[in-house]
């Protein structure tokens, strides 16, 4: 351990965080009651089935104990959370209509620029409601729906009701129940049969306001033979008390479709980020989760793929960077339920400045799922003595012709590598940065170019912050 590695302290993440004063037009009282749930549904003028769904979820949330297999969740004070806020009255279709104050925040996040250059559609979430939304005209023409989940409930009630809550039912886990009770915002995507969306769909969203919970719900339905890439990324301001982000993402990949879902999670260090992300993959479809977690105080997130149709493929890349005070409890699940299905899980984690990175994953081959080929690879890099790295893989195989391999390694940056790079004229800091970026390249190379640049910049900032 070199001196400078030991000096990696005081990782100041505030450079990513800024906050604006927002006048909230509608908000609920702090804490969660049956009345709060009913009030949210009433404000949104939802159909009765959704109100009932929310209340069923609320009842389950109360009954379900907190999970005990990961620690620290008992520090969340559910009574201090505000479960619903609506910052502007209507859905915005054009950037010009977005209130200036909110626009300023997005400007600082670089959204308009990204929108002009690359985006085929933008759904940006500001607290609990979608405030800005646009879909390129040509996408609308070919029938692609990309809008806020609340709006979709009103405009596409049939397809919404058919799929909503079927992939992640409220009873799945305590936080899925919480999200189901109070969900607000998120994206809805429908891609019709045979349509290939030529550009990624992107949704930026961010939390603002102390003690605000963010409970977005995303539903993506990709019809037979269709193809789409959805991208989300986020930042949030730092506050002294704990914030909560509890999301549910449901993806349905029908036969022969292809879905890629990319996330760069960069919540501020006070946020508990507890997310249930799950996809059902039907015959010959491909689902890819590309998932990076650099922010939050604690993330609990295992993107999952249920391989339900013959020949379906699952590909999951999970990246975690845990700095001071952070615990990234992340990983992936591949559940093989049909014959000739394939899965690949690659996990890369970096822990530093006392951070803890835990890989938790599940690979299951159910009876009847013959001819499965599956692989899991977990690599962890620890940058100092104070940090911690864990690997908790579960591998449950119930078919005799399964081919499964799993490998994991944990280590530090070798002094030989540093020495070699320094001999080529790099500073020690640059050398480390380069090695960490190389270690994470399996993730960055899957990103669209502008995201890859942004992500590498983020990693560099983290490393520099550490080295001061």
């Amino acid at each position: 351990m070199t001196l400078s590695q030991r000096q990696m302290v005081d990782n100041d993440r505030s450079r990513f965080d800024f906050k604006d004063e927002i006048v909230y037009l509608t908000e609920t009282k702090r804490g969660l009651t049956r009345e709060t749930v009913e009030e949210i549904s009433a404000i949104k003028e939802e159909p009765e089935w959704m109100t009932k769904f929310r209340l069923r979820a609320y009842d389950h949330f109360l009954k379900r104990p907190l999970p005990t297999w990961t620690d620290g969740l008992d520090r969340i004070d559910f009574d201090k959370i505000m479960y619903y806020r609506k910052p502007s009255e209507r859905e915005e279709k054009s950037w010009d209509d977005v209130p200036d104050q909110i626009k300023n925040t997005f400007e600082r996040l670089g959204i308009p620029e990204a929108e002009r250059k690359f985006l085929s559609g933008v759904g940006a979430q500001y607290d609990s409601e979608v405030v800005y939304h646009s879909v390129k005209e040509e996408l609308s023409k070919i029938g692609v729906v990309f809008m806020g989940t609340d709006q979709a409930l009103k405009e596409y009630p049939d397809i919404f009701k058919k799929y909503f809550g079927t992939i992640v039912p409220p009873e799945d886990n305590k936080f899925a129940a919480l999200n189901s009770a109070v969900w607000s915002g998120g994206s809805f995507v429908y891609v019709p049969k045979g349509v290939e969306v030529p550009l990624p769909l992107q949704a930026y969203f961010r939390i603002n306001g102390e003690n605000t919970g963010q409970f977005e719900r995303t539903l993506i339905v990709v019809d037979e033979g269709a193809k789409v890439h959805y991208i989300e990324g986020c930042t949030a301001p730092i506050y002294a008390t704990d914030s909560l982000h509890v999301a549910v993402v449901e993806v349905i990949a029908l036969a022969n479709s292809k879905v890629r879902y990319t996330t760069i999670q960069n919540w501020s260090n006070d946020v508990y980020n507890l997310v249930t992300k799950r996809a059902h993959a039907y015959e010959n479809s491909t689902v890819e989760w590309i998932d990076a977690n650099t922010g939050s105080r604690k993330s609990v997130k295992y993107p999952s793929i249920y391989l339900r149709g013959r020949g379906a493929t699952a590909d999951i890349i999970s990246v975690a960077v845990a700095g001071k005070g952070q615990h990234q409890d992340t990983g992936a699940k591949a559940i093989h339920l049909a014959p000739d299905t394939r899965s690949r899980i690659v996990s890369k984690s970096v822990s530093k400045d006392g951070g803890r990175a835990s890989y938790r994953g599940q690979l299951k081959v159910a009876p009847g799922a013959t001819g499965v080929v599956a692989s899991v690879r977990c690599d962890a890099l620890m940058l100092d003595d104070e940090s911690r790295s864990d690997t908790y893989p579960y591998i449950d195989i119930q078919e005799d012709d399964t081919t499964m391999t799993h490998e994991a390694t944990v280590g530090k940056i070798s002094q030989d590598q540093i020495f070699y790079l320094m001999s080529r004229g790099l500073s020690e800091n640059e050398a480390q940065n380069l090695i960490v970026q190389g270690f994470l390249e399996v993730f960055t190379k899957e990103l669209p170019m502008e995201y890859a640049i942004e992500f590498n910049r983020l990693v560099k900032l983290e490393m520099e912050g550490a080295l001061g």
Binding site: W69, R388, P393, Y394, D396, I397, Q398, V410, G411, K412
Partner: protein
Amino acid sequence: MSDALKLPFAGEDFVRRISADLEEPKWLLEERMDALRLYDELPIETNNLFTLYVDLRAAHWNDIEPYREIGDAPGVDETVPEGVAALIDVGEDAIVARAMSAEARAAGVVVDTFANVLRTQPDLLRKALEGGQTLPDDDKFAQFARSHAALGLLIHVPDGVTLEQPIVVRWSVGAPGRGLITRTVLSLGENAGARVLEEQLPSAAHTGEGQSLWWGTTETLLGPGARLSFAGQQDFAGNTLSIVNRHATLEQDAQLNWALASVGAQLSKSRIDNRLVGRGSAVHQVEIGFGADRQLFDATSYTRHIGTDTTGDLLSKGVFLDRARGYYKGMITIERSAHGSDSFLGEFAMLLTKQARSVTIPSLEIDQPDVRRAAHSSSVGPIDETEIFYLMSRGLPREVARKFIVLGFLEPVVARIPLADAQDRLRALLDAKWPSTSEAAA
């Protein structure tokens, strides 16, 4: 499932009566009572990672009555078998053979029951047992054995003594409705060296009607520079429940080799704890399981790196036929103090029938990145068709080729058994396990 351990025979009455019958000193009764308290308090599995993979439903505890008195059989055999330093043979509730070579005796080696050692060298036993450091204090099963054991064995090799010939410990049980609860303490002094072979066999009383129970421990203390090779062969009858805790504490430069094979028993539950305390200490562990019918092999392994420059090299392999299941749960912990650790955990399984099942959980918890290696690896796969093709091209029928490949997969453990006879016996056992007409033969 995790609250399913209700042992009708467990409790203070049982413990006090056994201790009184054995005329144990007060400190040993207190040991038992400490263990009983832990046993009562502990859940069936304390590690949240593993709670989903404990399945004791096969056990009919209510139909089992453990032996309370274990004594010498009439005419204990005291002849020393060829090539053996010492032997102790326990059949059901009697010690049927107890023998030691003249040189081992002259070197001060002890292989005897707790009851006898308490008469001759009480301090030796007290030093090893008092405080309960030889078993994990978070394990209900270990604490059950520590509190309820009706028989204890001590194997002690003094400082500087190296035995060339192995010590053999043999257990035979199988009588329906009966159970043997035991502890075995194995202590090697500074720079001592020994090989131990433990055989677990069906007794003549085994009828297959009703369950029998063997519940035991291997509590190992290795002094500085000590070297122990421990080979275990579990081939109990199909009516037997086998529960074992093996625990080892290694001081500086101590070396431990475990080679453990499980072939028999209806339910075989084991937990191994390796504590690498001393600088430069090393454990090499190889476990195999070959299951058929509805056998369940539940094997947990903890290796804790505490001292600097320690080595943990752990490999488990399972082959499963019919509806057999293997639950292989592993945890490597590298503590902050353990600079320069080299740790590897491998868990590999071969499923030969559609109804067989393999669960592997090879976990790592690393607090010290300054390692030589920290890795795990796991795989599950069918028999490689290319290998079958190759063997068939050499003139072997398909079925024989499959068998060769499976036995070859398990051979690395067989090769580590210290006695040639025992190796051959294990090979024969594995060979016999291969079915002539099961689905696997198709």
